[in-house]
């Protein structure tokens, strides 16, 4: 991996856990600008826990998360807010607000953080909905959308403030293969078209091989990263047999 590329996110000796229970110990990795980076692992390996620490929802036991060189762990007040404004996050269920229509959900960050006129907010929200193919569902309530549509609306809301990086927590979970493939294609388009960096937590091998540039594999026994690299390369060359089996089993 070329070190010339600009590092956007760095986990440095990151130890995470809940209370006394350490889930991951001294984890180190870098995410480069413009790439689609996947965090892979079996259930219970700490993927979602790691993601929550990367986006600042939890404080790590030790170590640091650097965003464009600035420490997220130690940042406070406006400095922390400025870092968080670079993020967009898609939660597993889309996390749309049930009382707001789809377009109002997407508009919400613009309403809260900008002083743009109403027309501008509507235009931006609708443009994001068009980007994810939901322009015709703008006035529908989240309850009237399918699971895949809710996730796409979640992506539209996550990108409405033009984030540098988009974190996706299990984007394909609960979706049928066709919808899942559509979502993968959307991620690819947004990464290439808008230059957004993606960090996705998943155990969907099809998604990883379809969109991810690089992947780290977490092992609950080792409590850390056991493999890192391009998915196709890891499938053939990962040091651990179980990683090769894990990556080969479903795509064979």
């Amino acid at each position: 991996m070329s070190e010339d590329r600009k590092c956007l996110i760095e986990a440095r000796d990151l130890t995470v856990g809940y209370g006394d229970r350490v889930v991951l110990e001294r984890v180190n990795f870098k995410v480069y600008r413009g790439e689609v980076f996947a965090i892979l692992g079996a259930s219970g390996s700490g993927k979602s826990t790691l993601l929550k620490h990367l986006i600042g929802l939890h404080q790590p036991v030790s170590g640091d998360v650097l965003i464009s060189g600035a420490s997220l762990v130690n940042a406070e007040g406006d400095e922390r807010l400025a870092i968080l404004r670079k993020f967009g996050v898609l939660y597993q269920g889309g996390a749309l607000f049930g009382s707001l229509s789809t377009v109002e959900n997407v508009r919400l960050p613009l309403d809260e953080f900008t002083e743009l006129p109403e027309n501008a907010k509507d235009l931006i929200a609708l443009s994001k909905l068009r980007l994810v193919g939901l322009e015709s569902a703008a006035t529908k309530l989240p309850a009237d959308l399918s699971g895949g549509m809710q996730k796409r609306a979640g992506i539209a809301r996550a990108i409405v403030m033009d984030p540098c990086v988009l974190f996706l927590d299990e984007p394909s979970a609960g979706l049928d293969p066709i919808t899942s493939a559509g979502l993968d294609a959307l991620i690819g388009e947004l990464a290439k078209g808008l230059g957004i960096t993606f960090v996705m937590v998943t155990h969907e091998l099809a998604s990883i091989f379809s969109v991810a540039d690089r992947v780290v594999v977490l092992d609950p026994k080792a409590r850390g990263i056991v493999a890192e690299g391009a998915p196709a390369w890891l499938r053939e060359n990962a040091e651990q047999l179980w990683v090769r089996q894990f990556l080969n089993r479903k795509v064979a």
Partner: protein, 381 residues
């Protein structure tokens, strides 16, 4: 030639009017979410009252542009600020073209035209009546099912999960004792204070003790305990069952061949019926204890106060209070469980069913209390 370049800003723009209403707008610098709101307002002012037939937008001087900036460029290019004028944009970098293409005037106009569906009064009244009748039917069915569940539990005792009854009894009963006692203690104190003055004018201040004994035993003890049961435990029943419904746990029970009413509701109703009289007895005593310090303060000796309370109360008063409490306990537990089972879809549903459980419980408590008052009035005649 309006321009905003008098002071150095992240964004600078210049309007150059030409002949025949042809106007050129040149933008330089950063057009982002920070600079766009100001630029939008200023440009609207600049275009107001200006006759523009053709607008040329030159974006080649922009060093940065985000979605907010693109929304302004799009609004200008579709004639949003210059109605009737033709607009042409040049100089937008290829990297922004993809984003710019995602803007659509068609979507924008469709959203502006969209009006939320508004139903007529006739529809609303019809729907409300239909819902009320449906609710009544569900309540009657529910009472039948719970009664059947209780009867089944009597004949097949293993169906009754006594561990669950004890758990509910502890959470809704034992843990509620302090707050029920405190509230009724204070209510007893308030009644004694409020009654002391008017009765003193009649020279009957000593009868405050009788009044306190009767009201706490017959009326306020059972009602206060039931209202606390509804607010504290009934809402918890509704939320618990509602969450189980949202999480499809009730579906899981049904597909296992288990009745949610037999499995979850009967235990709560039995616990409610058993614990309401216990709470009521505590409420009665706490209310009396609240009034005693006031009476002692008014100069009546403790023996006299206790004698007045004892002489003013009969077993029938206590029986009335306890009978009410049993009914209230059953009503609160049943209606709370029913509201929990009626929980709809989505995150708001649990909150709604919890609110409905408290409102329905309190309404039914007062309604049954009125029925009790009428019955006992006739019986005492």
């Amino acid at each position: 030639m309006p321009a905003n370049d008098s002071i150095p800003l992240a964004l600078q723009w210049e309007l150059t009017p030409g002949s025949g209403g042809v106007t050129k707008l040149s933008l330089r610098g950063e057009l982002d979410s920070a600079s766009t709101p100001t630029a939008w307002r200023e440009l609207e002012k600049a275009f107001a009252g200006t006759k523009v037939t053709s607008l040329e937008i030159d974006a080649s001087g922009l060093t940065a542009c985000d979605s907010a900036g693109l929304s302004l460029l799009y609004f200008l290019s579709t004639g949003g600020m210059t109605p009737g004028a033709t607009a042409r944009m040049t100089g937008l970098g290829p990297e922004l073209e993809h984003l710019f293409r995602s803007f659509s005037n068609e979507d924008f106009l469709a959203l502006q035209d969209h009006e939320p569906a508004c139903s007529s009064i006739v529809d609303d009244v019809g729907t409300a009546t239909w819902n009320w009748l449906q609710d009544l039917r569900e309540q009657i069915e529910f009472i039948g099912e719970v009664s059947m569940g209780i009867v089944t539990s009597i004949f097949i005792p293993r169906r009754m999960r006594w561990k669950e009854v004890i758990r509910v009894f502890e959470i809704a009963g034992v843990n509620a004792l302090p707050i029920v006692s405190l509230l009724t203690f204070l209510v007893g104190m308030v009644i004694a204070f409020e009654a002391a003055q008017p009765l003193a004018q009649l020279g009957a201040q000593v009868f405050v003790a009788n009044l306190l004994g009767l009201t706490m035993t017959r009326e306020l003890g059972p009602v206060m305990a039931a209202i606390m049961l509804a607010g504290r435990s009934g809402s918890a029943f509704a939320a618990e069952l509602g969450t189980m419904k949202v999480n499809e746990e009730l579906n899981a029970l049904q597909t296992m061949g288990l009745s949610p009413i037999q499995f979850l509701v009967v235990q709560r109703v039995v616990a409610g019926v058993l614990l309401a009289p216990v709470l009521t007895v505590f409420a009665m005593y706490a209310g009396l204890l609240g009034g005693i310090p006031v009476l002692l303060g008014l100069g009546f000796p403790l023996r006299m106060v206790l004698y007045q309370v004892q002489s003013g109360l009969h077993f029938s008063d206590l029986a009335e209070g306890l009978a009410k409490s049993i009914v209230f306990g059953g009503v609160v537990a049943s209606v709370s469980c029913l509201r929990g089972l009626q929980t709809g879809e989505g995150p708001r549903a649990v909150g709604e069913s919890t609110t409905r459980s408290v409102v329905s419980s309190i309404l039914l408590i007062i309604l049954s209390d009125a029925v009790f008052a009428a019955i006992t009035y006739v019986l005492r005649k």
